[in-house]
Point group: C2
Chain length 409, copies 2
C-alpha cells in the first residue's frame, strides 16, 4: 500500500507553524509498513484543495488529510473529499451528542452543527480531544482518512483508532523497538553495525538526535511472537557490539533512566554547577517524583561561590583554575558532603562563545561524580553553540552517573 | 508572484526529520510579499521527482527546491530541473575550486565532481557552509531556486543570496517588526487590537508561542523610509493599548532582555528555586557573558534545604507550607542576603502531575522578587504539563524582574 499525506491550512503556508503532523504520520505509516510517496500542504482555498486532493486520491491507495475539519466556512476538507466521491452528507445525531458532551455546558455555536454532517457509508473517528470528528471513507479501492489538525487531537486519534484500522487491513504484523545510545557518533555506530544494517527483516536504522543516537529495529512477521523474536535476536547482536553505549529503550530518555535507577536503589543526588548553572538539577527535576531523589543543589558560577558553598580550595582555583579536573572533583565532593546526597556531581567548563584560550578552548568541560568515597572525573571536548555545550555537559554527567548506578544494581 | 516549495528527501517521507525548511522558506517568502500556494515533499525517486517538479514549474511563478544536490547518485534535483528546461550542464572550474577550498585538505571524492556541473545560464549560489552550490535558473518567465537541504546551509544561503535576489525582482519594499508580549493570551490580545488587525497595510498578525504571544507588523511601501514610518505608526497604536505586556522586539527573548537590562544597570541576580530546580539560573546563564550578572544560586527542593541555604523559618514552612507567598518571600530575601546580589528571586510551586490538593492545586506557583529593601510576591495558576508549569514559572519570574528593572532605568 502506498500513501500520501496532505496537511490543509494557510498557517502552514505562511510558515507560522511547523508541519509536525507530516512527520508524525510518516513515521507511523512507515512503522506499519506503508510507503509514503508524497507529502503536501495546501491552503484553505477551494480550487487548489480540489486539485490537490483529486490528484492524491487518483495516484495513492491511502490519503491521510489533516486539518480543515473545523466549524468555519474556511474548513473545506470534508466537503472537498465528499464532492470528489459524489457522496451525500447526513446529519449524525450521535456525533452531535458527543460534541455537546465534549463542550460540557459551553455553548455549541450554530457553525458547530456543520461538523456533525458525515458522508454516507463513512466510518466516524470519535473525538474525545476536541469537537471535530475524524472520518474514514473507503471507496473505489481507495482509503481516505481525515483527521483534525491540532496535534493534541490528531496524534491520539491516530494511535487509538486509525492505527488499529490500518493494521487490520494488513496481513502481516510490523513491530519496532528503539535502542537509545549515548557517547557514540552516528558514523562510528554505522561502521560498527554496517552489516546488520543490510538485513532486510528485521531492518536496522540509525538516527542521530541532539546528543544521542538511536537505532530502530523494525520487524515484519506473521505474528506478534515472531516479530518479537526477530527484534530480540537483532537486539542481542547490536548489544554484543555497542552495548556499552546503550542506555535505554523506546521513549525513556537518559534523565528518566537515571532518575528511575536512583529511585530503585533508594539513592539521592545533588549537583554543583558552574557552566550548566542549574540545568543538571532542573533536568533531574523534570522527572515526576523527583523529590525522592533530589533535595538540593547549588549554582556556583563565580569562584567565590565555589569556595563558599563547596569548600573548593582557593589554592586549587588559583593554581589550576576553575575549569580543571581538580575543581570538578572538589565540586562533586563538596556538594556530596554539603547535601548528604549519595551521589555528588560537579560540572565546570567553558560554554563559550567567549572565554576560550588555546590551553582551555570553548567546549572543554570537566565532570566530577563523587560516590561512596570515590570520585571519577571526566574530561570532554564538546562542540557547538553555548546552548549545545551546556546541554551536552548535562547529558555526559547523566551518562556517567548511570554507569556508576549500573554497577550497584 | 506565487511560489511553491518542494523538499526532496526520503528521510522526510519516513518521518525521520521534521521539514523545518518548509517553515523557514514559507516565512521568508511571506515576509517578501510572495504568496506560497503549495508545499510538497517527494523522495529520491526519479519518476516521482520529475512529475512533482514539472507540475510545480507549470503552475507556479517561483519554485524553491531544497535537498537532492549532494554528490551521490540519489541526488537528482539539479538533473531533473535541467532536464525539464532542456538545458546543458557545463563543468564549472570556479565551483570546483570553492569546494576544494571548503574541504581544506580533506579529499574530494570522485562523486564531488558531480556537484560542480552547472546548468548553462544559471546563477550560482556560492556555498561557504558546505560543498553543494545552490543554483538559480530563470527561464520561460519562471524562476527555480535550488538549495542544499541541511538547514545550517540553506538558511544562511537564502538570507545572504536568495533574499536580496528576490527583493530586487520586486518593485516594492516589505518590512516587518515583531513585538513580543507576555502575560496576555492570544484571544484577549485579539480583542484589544481587533480593529488594527483589519488594517491592510501595514498588516498586524498575532501568533501564540509557548508562554508568549507575538504581534508581527508588516508594511509594504515604495521605500524603506515609508515602510519604517508605517511600522512605527502601527507600533505606537498597539503600544497605547497593550504596552504593559510588550517586553521586547524581533529576536530578543525575554531572558535576554532581562540579562541585558541587568548588565546595563550594573546589577546582579541570584535565584532560590524549588519547583523550577535550577531552570531560572540555567536560563540566565544561557546569555553569553552571564558571569557579570550571575554569581550563584541554590536549588532548594526539600524544606530542609530552604532552611539551610536561605534561612526560611521552619515556622513558616509548618504553618503555611512550602508553597505559599510567605515562603516565596523568605526564599527571595534569603538568597539576596546569602549571595549579596542586587535582586533575589524565590520560586516555589506545585509542578505536578502529583502533589496537588483542592487548596493548592497543581500549577499554583508563588514567585518572590527581593530588591533594595522591598519584596514583591506574585501568585500564578499555571496550566499544562510539569514541564510547561516549570517553564511558565521561569517566564513569569523573568517578567517580574523586568518590570522592576524598567523602573530603575
Amino acid at each position: 500500500m502506498n500513501a500520501e499525506i496532505i496537511a490543509v491550512g494557510t498557517e502552514l503556508l505562511l510558515g507560522d507553524i511547523l508541519n509536525t503532523n507530516a512527520q508524525f504520520l510518516s513515521r507511523e505509516l512507515s512503522g506499519l509498513g506503508i510507503d509514503v510517496y508524497y507529502q503536501q500542504v495546501v491552503g484553505d482555498n477551494p480550487a487548489r484543495m480540489k486539485q490537490v486532493i483529486g490528484e492524491a486520491i487518483s495516484r495513492s491507495d491511502l490519503v491521510i488529510l489533516s486539518g480543515g475539519l473545523g466549524p468555519t466556512d474556511d474548513d473545506l476538507t470534508k466537503e472537498t473529499v465528499t464532492d470528489y466521491f459524489g457522496l451525500p452528507l447526513y446529519f449524525d445525531e450521535s456525533v452531535m451528542e458527543e460534541m455537546t458532551a465534549y463542550l460540557k455546558g459551553r455553548k455549541l455555536s450554530v457553525s458547530n452543527r456543520k461538523q456533525a454532517y458525515i458522508p454516507e457509508g463513512a466510518i466516524v473517528i470519535h473525538n474525545n480531544y476536541g469537537t471535530a470528528p475524524g472520518i474514514i471513507i473507503e471507496k473505489d479501492e481507495k482509503i481516505v482518512v481525515m483527521l483534525p489538525g491540532p496535534p493534541r487531537e490528531l496524534e491520539p486519534l491516530f494511535c487509538e483508532q486509525v492505527r488499529p484500522y490500518l493494521r487490520a487491513k494488513s496481513d502481516f504484523v510490523m513491530k519496532s523497538k528503539v535502542l537509545r545510545l549515548f557517547g557514540i557518533g552516528e558514523s562510528t555506530l554505522g561502521e560498527e553495525v554496517r552489516d546488520l544494517m543490510e538485513s532486510a527483516n528485521p531492518t536496522l536504522a540509525p538516527y542521530a538526535k541532539d546528543n544521542e543516537v538511536t537505532l530502530r529495529i523494525t520487524a515484519k512477521a506473521e505474528s506478534e511472537e515472531e516479530a518479537d523474536h526477530l527484534i530480540c535476536d537483532m537486539k542481542e547482536k547490536v548489544t554484543a557490539r555497542v552495548g556499552a553505549h546503550i542506555y535505554g529503550e523506546d521513549e525513556e530518555e537518559l534523565y528518566a533512566v537515571v532518575c528511575r535507577m536512583l529511585k530503585e536503589r533508594g539513592m539521592t543526588i545533588a549537583a554543583a554547577e558552574s557552566c550548566t548553572a542549574g540545568l543538571f538539577s532542573a533536568t533531574i527535576a523534570n522527572w515526576p517524583g523527583a523529590s525522592e531523589i533530589l533535595h538540593e543543589g547549588v549554582v556556583t558560577y563565580a569562584n567565590r561561590a565555589k569556595e563558599k558553598y563547596l569548600g573548593v580550595s582557593s589554592q586549587t582555583l588559583q593554581s589550576v583554575g576553575a575549569v580543571s579536573p581538580e575543581t570538578a572533583q572538589e565540586m562533586a565532593e563538596g556538594i556530596r558532603k554539603a547535601s548528604g546526597a549519595d551521589i555528588g556531581v560537579g560540572i565546570t567548563g567553558i560554554a563559550g562563545p567567549g572565554g576560550g584560550t588555546p590551553e582551555k578552548p570553548v567546549g572543554l568541560v570537566y565532570i566530577g561524580v563523587a560516590h561512596e568515597g570515590r570520585t571519577e572525573v571526566l574530561e570532554r571536548n564538546l562542540h557547538g553553540t553555548r546552548k549545545k555545550v551546556r546541554e551536552a555537559s548535562v547529558m555526559n554527567a547523566l551518562f556517567a552517573v548511570r554507569k556508576i548506578l549500573e554497577k550497584r544494581s
